[in-house]
Symmetry: C2
Subunit: 341 residues, 2 copies
């Protein structure tokens, strides 16, 4: 149905278009790539490819540009592998070593790195603390009315909150409470803290006012970290794309990138097993129908932690972005492990 020569021509067109952003015509294509056939033949093949839906025509007498279907075919089979170079690996290594001192900096810097190397917008969805397992809770005295609750999870996160003490309660009461909570919640994921565990805590604590306070502590441990963090990088690269040289279009994209919830939804929707590429029209959201998104999930010890992604115009360097994401998502596990115990 689509023979080897057609494939070569399609690949040449897409490669050209990706690097030039100009519709490509038969003459120039024949000149640049040594395809061994004349422009006229290429024209015929192009007409066929268009008929089959792999190419598009802005108007009569302008070169062809790839359609979403064309990119899809390219990504699924034609794409020339473009592995991460040694320099890039070295850059990534140095970057993490120099800039990441605390675990929460990992994600911001990962976003920066991805956007720098791919020259596109990057998105990093950091692990949700709430799906980490509860490890231990401790209190520190602060003053007569307050204590600091320090909550640790298995994934290596430590959080602290200031909690008010109910009148009449002492710090010793809170220490007792910590013992009960630690006992009842050991190993629970934060998300799975539900009725039964709470009931057990209630039974063991007995005192109503203390139980209320315990609830508040648990509640606050949960709710402030319930929403996963999203980090963006390199939004400015969108400004450099010729397809967004129109202020209205760029506005549309930049405004969308400010809608954190929307982006998170998109990332969730695309969160597959490994590398997933969504091209142009394939996107459900019409505001990014001129863009492609490549997502990859990263894991630690078999557990899904989060997603990293690249967003760019459909005319993006898929090969580079894909191999980088693949590299980053294994690398990321190692970096996180360094902060882990």
């Amino acid at each position: 149905m689509i023979d080897e020569r057609k494939q070569r021509i399609l690949q040449a067109i897409i490669d050209d278009y990706i690097s030039s952003a100009e519709p490509v015509g038969s003459r120039t294509l024949a000149r640049k790539h040594d395809l061994g056939v004349s422009p006229a033949t290429i024209r015929n093949e192009m007409a066929d490819l268009e008929m089959l839906g792999y190419l598009e025509h802005i108007h009569t007498s302008s070169g062809r540009i790839p359609s979403s279907k064309g990119y899809r075919f390219y990504v699924d089979g034609l794409i020339p592998p473009k592995p991460v170079t040694d320099e890039e690996r070295a850059l990534i290594d140095r970057w993490y070593k120099a800039r990441v001192k605390r675990i929460d900096e990992v994600f911001q810097e990962t976003a920066r790195l991805i956007s720098q190397v791919t020259r596109n917008v990057s998105m990093v969805l950091a692990p949700q603390v709430s799906q980490a397992a509860f490890r231990c809770l401790q209190f520190l005295p602060l003053d007569e009315q307050r204590v600091i609750a320090v909550i640790m999870t298995d994934a290596g996160f430590v959080e602290n909150k200031i909690v008010g003490m109910p009148s009449g309660a002492t710090f010793e009461d809170f220490q007792r409470m910590a013992g009960v909570i630690n006992h009842c919640l050991a190993g629970c994921t934060l998300r799975s803290i539900q009725g039964p565990a709470l009931k057990q805590i209630r039974d063991e604590i007995r005192e109503e006012s203390l139980y209320e306070a315990a609830l508040e502590v648990i509640q606050r441990a949960l709710d402030s970290e319930k929403r996963e963090r999203l980090y963006l990088g390199g939004t400015r690269h969108m400004l450099e794309q010729p397809e967004f040289h129109d202020v209205e279009k760029i506005k549309d994209i930049l405004l969308m990138l400010e809608e954190e919830e929307l982006i998170k939804d998109i990332l969730h929707a695309h969160m597959g097993d490994g590398l997933e590429v969504t091209i142009g029209q394939e996107n459900e959201n019409r505001r990014i129908k001129d863009c492609s998104i490549i997502t990859a999930t990263y894991h630690l010890d078999g557990e899904l932690l989060g997603t990293i992604a690249v967003l760019g115009p459909t005319r993006m360097e898929y090969a580079k972005a894909m191999s980088l994401l693949e590299y980053m998502n294994t690398n990321l596990a190692d970096v996180i492990r360094r902060f882990h115990w």
Copy 2:
């Protein structure tokens, strides 16, 4: 030198230009504002104002636009007061109540609020933890090799870090270390922790390996919070300004806004006592010579905490932005106090 009628005309021109973004001509000005004189007279006055440097001419035969000097005169004297409305106050109040649960959210939300109300870019420089006073340090056991250090400061910040224990040291050693550190550093600002205090700690701790560990703890308490946090809001408003309808210009501004250090420097440079307005050419950085910055500092109990600012085109609504910042910087103190003890 610049009589009352000239002032009225200058004010009318600036008000018009601020709301329309179009150069204003004598005829339209006469029609819109009831100045009691004919266009010809206005033309004469305009010519005078231009001679004096308050107005500019893009080319012969186009209307006038205010110069930086013109805006300066306007801001210093002509500006019609535009107090924060009751609705705006209510909005601000509701916003803080609904969205701010933790102190570090105050600044991000303040930035959002300012940009929303002024429809311009906002910048918020959060207080530096390192100029807060050290309050207390405590350790919690984590595992055989590590402890969690929890550091509290007077300004209401609590930070935690994971610290490795030197081999041979026990958790009890660390507790003793905490006692020494708390004793020696009580009341010091984090920034002022210098040689003498450290020497005292060394003398009291005695053991070299423990002292090294103590140094690491102090070091990490300092360095991760040394750099103050910057929050931006509403960069998209720049996209809506007609003067930045050119992609190159918008790129210039947006790229600059991504340079955190640069922005911080600018804010520091403009950090005056109260409200400070820097207009167009008055800016040292030529990349914002088409912009104005209004900065205001906020305090708590007499101590300077940080800066809030609005960045917009020179043609911005100074009156509104100024009164809002003035309101916000008193309000902010109250909001912070809520998290304070």
